[in-house]
Amino acid sequence: MKETIQNVIEKYNRDRNRLMDILIAIQNMHQHIPEDAVSIIADQLGISKVDVKQTITFYHFFTLTPVGEYAVYLNDSAVANIKGRAEVVQAFEDELGIPFNSVTTDGLIGIWDTADIGMNDQEPAALINGTVFTNLTSEKVKSLITGMRAGKDMLELMRVIDAELDGPELLSTMVKNNIRQKGAVLFSDAYEVGYALRQAINRTPVEVVDEVKRSNLRGRGGAGFPAGLKWDFCRQSRGEEVYVVCNADEGEPGTFKDRVILTELPKLLFEGMAIAGYAIGAKQGIVYLRYEYRYMLEYLESILQELRELNLLGKNIAGKAGFDFDIRIQLGAGAYVCGEETALIESMEGKRGEPRNRPPFPVQTGYLNKPTVVNNVETLCSVVQVITEGAEWFKSFGTSDSSGTKLLSISGDCKNPGIYAVEWGVTIQKLMRRTGANNVQAVQIGGPSGICIGPDQFDRGIAFEDLATGGSVIFISEERDLLKDFVLNFMNFFIEESCGSCGPCRSLNVILRNKLLKILDGNGVEQDIDELYKWAGVGRSVNRCGLGQTAANPILTTIENFRHLYEDLVQMNESFVSAFDMESAVAESCEVVGREPNLSR
């Protein structure tokens, strides 16, 4: 073992900044990071063992104990649950005879929960050794387990439950892209590879930045920062070495648009990155790809190679002397917070994905402390069309504050979940008609960190100035238990995904979730709703990053828009309910001493 681990470390030049890659390789080899490997890495990189472990234990897909030769990670998102996840869990547990989050005694199959894997339009879904399996049922689970026991490889395993796989050879997958509505900016048939890049290099970098600025293109990841301005700030930093980073860590539950772009239009994305590279003077671009999308890695690498052969990447690109730019793909390892741009940079440097304090901003001090532009996948793709068609053309779509179009990932209770390219400003009502969503109780916009609205607000529009979203729209029908199926799921998600750095984010969300449970268990009084609302408001003003500032939104926005659901659960005429249950309090000690509880009620 020692030699193979040594080789991995050598492959990455004993570079501490490549610790993620080292760990990914070892995890894949051994289905965990063995203690011996931790010692070897620590020794070789000149850091302490706890220092290596702090990175390992931050990421969901790195483990210190084996996860099984077949590691099944079943998505635990709210939408997975309403689409029949419980049945799938039951099937796995019954067939294997083990509870979830454990491994069979022979070490062959492990079954684990995981946070959103970006498959909301085809749930229940799971990752098995990095490969995606969608639309699972108890029957399919049985077939899969038979296949795993027979030692089938991933391709064979997919074919066990899906005879017709989608995609080109390097991307044979069960994942359907479900593009329901194409738009003028993305998925336009007019796209010609390399055209925009050639246009760009015939202009000065400043002119390219100005064109993007004039287009009012705002970041598509959710925050909406003007892309051109970001590029301009990076140029003003005047770094000798600067980086373009593509944020492909879409982890917001309910969004999967980047998944579709990456598999349908990778050239558009890479071309956008090259244009960004030209504009800010970068020689290196990096795509930070979430581990959940690992299944497309080989395919994306092949596309990069194709572009190199077309001289659209590499040296003297498209004949422009001195314009050198290339792209590498950095895999993540399962951490929602890494979608925050400074956490993403930390992760790319092989560290825990903890958001940095700002200032300084990444455009000043980013990857390896060099000026860095971090843009979302969709933003970089939009750049290509801005350069091709011009800023005025781009601004002719959308609203005054939100120009262009937006890719929405629509899921939940509707007939046609999938990808919709819409103009900014489209109303919720219109989306409901288009997607076939009926009896809608609530719509969750922008994922758990966004807002939850009821029918009285369905005339509002999707736009930065109204209902802002990075792409996630989830319809929730009347038969769902909004608080239990969604709000509780979202709070557990944030508790798990918080990096834990900021005290109020780390601990207050647990307090909020426990208070919510008190209400859900029927032990709440009206004061609990008021306290819950008051406490939920603290994080927004004190925490460092977007996660911490918005983690209480599921509670805040449902109390604002669905207070009656809380009131239905609490004991309105009581001023105090202790929620103390003597029987459960003494249950453990009774079991130890083998005594029946003797409670006179």
Binding site: G46, I47, S48, K49, V50, D51, K53, Q54, T57, F58, A335, R352, N357, P359, I495, E496, E497, S498, C499, G500, S501, C502, G503, P504, C505, R506, S507, L508, N509, V510, I511, N514, E531, W535, V538, S541, V542, N543, R544
Partner: protein, 238 residues
């Protein structure tokens, strides 16, 4: 010190002076103004993690330990809203750990306890979580009690042996994050380094063994005057 080289700014109506690049919390201290902080120690890279030093600038909150002073900046510090927020943060720290002051060696020298007194915490508004946390007493010279840890990362940033971190975060999130100690390195700490580790910890999570109650209760750092008064009573006159 010539004022001309310094930046002029304001904290709660008081005109203050700072060196360019100086953090708000350090500059405030030099001007005799106390901004509470738990994770910040002079000389270490600011973490901005306890959030208690949040101040308001232009209507926005920011941590005074990470934000540099800007020329003409107007900083709100001692306001009812911020003080309430700070009390809330302290309360969250209290209920999410197991802090039993009367039995703690650090009582009277503990910054968490001192800040709680200063912001007049009585009974926390939040229910106690009583989390299960471990104690690690393996090294010869130090004792690591996670029950009292507030995860300020002062030990992570400040305590090294041969250039390697002795303490690190482990896990993540609200229910699994903890500080873990590298047993090999911790066992090699000298008397002096072990003492330093105890001193860098604002609470009683890292204790030097065999040194209990060397200074009696009643004569400790914060027993006579509240935390921050040492700053408020030592205004730099220039």
């Amino acid at each position: 010190m010539k004022k001309a080289e310094k930046i002029t700014f304001k904290i709660d109506e008081k005109t203050c002076y700072a060196w360019p690049g100086q953090s708000i919390v350090d500059a405030a201290r030099d001007n005799g103004i106390y901004i509470p902080s738990l994770c910040h120690v002079e000389g270490l890279k600011p973490a901005g993690s306890c959030r208690i030093c949040n101040v308001t600038v232009n209507g926005r909150n920011m941590t005074a330990c990470t934000a540099p002073v800007g020329e003409g900046m107007v900083v709100e510090n001692d306001t009812p809203e911020l003080n309430e927020l700070r009390k809330t943060i302290v309360e969250v720290l209290f209920v999410s750990g197991n802090h039993f002051c009367p039995s703690c060696e650090k009582s009277g020298n503990c910054e968490l306890q001192a800040v709680a007194y200063r912001y007049q915490m009585m009974v926390p508004q939040f229910p106690y979580e009583f989390p299960v946390k471990g104690v690690d007493a393996r090294p010869d010279l130090i004792l690591h009690d996670r029950n009292r840890c507030i995860m300020c990362k002062r030990c992570v940033r400040g305590i090294e042996k041969d250039g390697k971190a002795v303490f690190s975060f482990e896990g993540r999130g609200g229910e699994h994050l903890q500080i873990s100690m590298d047993i090999d390195l911790a066992s090699q700490l000298s008397e002096e380094e072990a003492f330093e580790a105890m001193e860098i910890c604002p609470v009683g999570a890292i204790l030097k063994k065999e040194r209990g109650f060397a200074i009696p209760i009643g004569e400790r750092k914060f027993d006579k005057a509240p935390i921050g008064s040492e700053i408020e009573n030592s205004v730099e006159q220039d």
